[in-house]
């Protein structure tokens, strides 16, 4: 029966596909993995299943028409996508937006960051086996989406910013409802942390998994929480403040070891910081117009190029816009998608780990395939 040539300790490689139709890949990510038993020898992410040619579409549209298409990239954080495009366009056209518009934008963007992090927490926890946080986080996320719906009529694809400001004034009573949500939010974060932070199973599944050193993180171009989890204090809101983030007092939480648990802690702290930013924005919201005076037809003056970026929930989201003289549409609009560049690190992070850890690492990178494939 037993083959003397084959002992229990032989390496037997097996190649399997993880995804694209797998709930733990957060969309249509396919990872080709070579396994030795449960151990991952090699992993190769294969993407492009959701490629819609957004960058090509941008070239055929007037500047304001591009904004709804930005919603469809990172579809769980549409407001920050809008913001990124508007910030880049305002840099190109030389528009200064009124303070009220900037504050409304910051409120929307921070609400969006909370909503995005809640989706991340829910799915990350459910991937690892903790089902309960899902029900808690989606309760709060729904409250945030209700606020969005009340403001702009949409819950996911918001289209809620315009080049030069925001499209609407806040509805009556919106600020009170937002304020109520913000005041209670820290206690909700405590609830999630009670479920996970000191949970033994959670710690066993996340500590020491997918460790990234600071040097590696920079070399691989990580941004956002994966970079900060490795201890690099880097946040676009601080180093290149857009809108009015320079007037707001907040901290950049960083991790120490750069493992999955650290990135979890960083995101939880970021949510608390978002609450802090929201509180300040709501208290200081200035009066005045919500749109700058911009021409009816937006037209670039010279041939030129600008790069504008914002701190999206996933990392640095940049728009590189190239125009020709007197153009009303971008000649080329490149999106620097944080998820795309963060995902690149996946093979280096999972090799040598177990298959179950691959799920944890995909979760901790917080990818959105709509943005990766564009």
């Amino acid at each position: 029966m037993t083959d003397p040539e084959r002992s229990l300790f032989d390496v037997e490689e097996m190649e399997i596909n993880f995804g694209p139709q797998h709930p733990a890949t957060h969309g249509v990510l396919r990872v080709k993995i070579k396994l030795d038993g449960e151990k991952i020898m090699e992993a190769k992410p294969i993407i492009g299943y959701l490629h819609r040619g957004t960058e090509k579409l941008f070239e055929t549209m007037d500047f304001p028409q591009c904004i709804p298409h930005t919603d469809r990239m990172d579809y769980v954080a549409a407001a920050t996508n809008n913001q990124g495009f508007c910030v880049a366009m305002e840099k190109l056209l030389g528009i200064t937006i009124p303070p009220r518009a900037a504050y409304i934008r910051m409120i929307l963007a921070e609400l969006q960051r909370l909503a995005s992090h809640l989706v991340w927490l829910a799915t990350h926890a459910i991937d690892i086996g903790a089902i309960t946080p899902f029900f808690y986080t989606f309760r709060e996320r729904d409250a945030i989406l209700d606020l969005f719906e009340e403001y702009c009529g949409a819950r996911l694809t918001l289209n809620t910013m315009k080049i030069g400001g925001v499209p609407f004034e806040l509805p009556d009573g919106w600020l009170d409802r937002c304020s109520e949500l913000v005041d209670g939010f820290n206690s909700h974060i405590d609830e999630y942390e009670n479920l996970l932070t000191e949970n033994r199973i959670w710690k066993q599944r996340t500590i020491g998994i997918g460790v990234v050193s600071a040097e590696e993180a920079i070399e691989w171009g990580l941004t956002g929480p994966p970079l900060r989890g490795s201890g690099v204090q880097w946040d676009i809101r601080k180093i290149f403040p857009y809108d009015r983030y320079d007037e707001i007092d907040f901290k950049i939480p960083i991790g120490k070891t750069g493992d999955t648990y650290d990135r979890y802690l960083v995101r939880m702290q970021e949510m608390r910081q978002s609450v802090r930013i929201l509180r300040q924005c709501l208290d200081r919201l200035p009066d005045g117009p919500y749109m700058a005076r911009v021409p009816k037809v937006l037209r670039a003056k010279d041939a030129g190029m600008v790069y504008g970026s914002v701190e999206a929930p996933k990392g640095e989201l940049g728009y590189f816009i190239v125009t020709t003289e007197k153009a009303t549409a971008p000649y080329r609009c490149r999106v620097r998608p944080p998820s795309f560049i963060n995902l690149q690190m996946l093979p280096a992070m999972v090799e040598g780990h177990l298959v179950a850890d691959l799920v944890a690492v995909i979760g901790t990178l917080d990818i959105v395939l709509g943005e990766i494939d564009r």
């Binding site: 492009g48 960058e55 691989w220 180093i239 010279d302 560049i341």
Partner: protein
């Protein structure tokens, strides 16, 4: 009956249009009659008065506080020479004659450098000027341009003083450019994406494969001559079975179906 319907609205519309001008002109003609008695002297006085009022208003607006920037007309950025930029000077000192142009636009410095020395230049910026972080790498297609079809851009970040610098090279069609994956690992997927969408070949790249479209896809979507409505890719995902350029033709499929019957 159906023929009458489209004709009736145009008949009604002109009637309404004719009425409107009558009503509008009637009060004007009355005013004109009242105004006629004005003598020339009075006219002169009135004109002088209006002029004085306009002057006063102008003075007021000049004295008034300057408007907020969001009320003013937007001021687009302008191109400036950036050859005095510290990094341009440093690069010029290290490798003379390599900075072909230096431009500052909207606060962003772009240095144009020759494509055949890009790895050397990138390594210089990473190791000597401390640009440890490659933010973005992308390309732009200019099909009509004589000196080379593609622009390739490298957008770098320095942590010490949060400075960003853009390198710009021109690459002709079908001419490979050296990969910078040796300098920054993160360039790997960015170069694959540029290869996939523009067809620029990066030599010495560890695995230059298509990334967003599939292997066997015919064409490079972000080139300007690629049709926006897309191409018939058919079943080109099997390049061995169906050569790139389209899948099985519809007519052939019909014939086969007919033959089977």
């Amino acid at each position: 009956m159906s023929d009458d319907k489209p004709t009736t609205p145009p008949e009604e519309a002109p009637v309404g249009d004719q009425k409107a001008p009558d009503q509008a002109t009637a009060p004007e003609s009355e005013e004109k009659k009242e105004k006629q008695p004005l003598s020339d002297e009075e006219k002169v006085a009135k004109i002088a008065e209006a002029k004085a009022r306009a002057a006063a208003r102008k003075q007021e607006s000049e004295e008034a506080e300057p408007k907020d920037p969001w009320e003013e007309k937007p001021v687009p950025p302008a191109h400036e020479d950036a050859s005095d930029d510290s990094d341009a000077v440093a690069l010029g000192g290290q490798v003379p004659g390599v900075v072909l142009a230096a431009d500052r636009y909207a606060g962003e410095v772009t240095l144009s450098v020759p494509a055949d020395r890009i790895v050397e230049i990138c390594r210089f910026f990473k190791n000597t000027c401390n640009y440890k972080f490659l933010v973005d790498l992308t390309a732009v297609d200019w099909p009509e341009r004589a000196e080379g079809r593609f622009d390739v851009f490298y957008w770098m970040h320095r942590f010490d003083d949060s400075k960003r610098l853009r390198l710009h090279t021109v690459v002709a069609e079908d001419v490979p450019i050296q990969s910078v994956t040796e300098v920054w690992k993160t360039a790997n997927w960015m170069e694959r994406e540029v290869y996939d969408l523009f067809g620029i070949v990066f030599s010495d790249h560890p695995g230059l494969e298509r990334i967003l479209t599939w292997e066997g896809f015919n064409g490079h979507p972000l080139r300007k001559d690629f049709p926006i409505e897309g191409i018939d890719t058919g079943a080109a995902i099997y390049p061995d079975v169906y050569p790139p350029g389209g899948g099985p033709q519809a007519e052939e499929a019909d014939e086969e179906a007919g033959g089977a019957e």
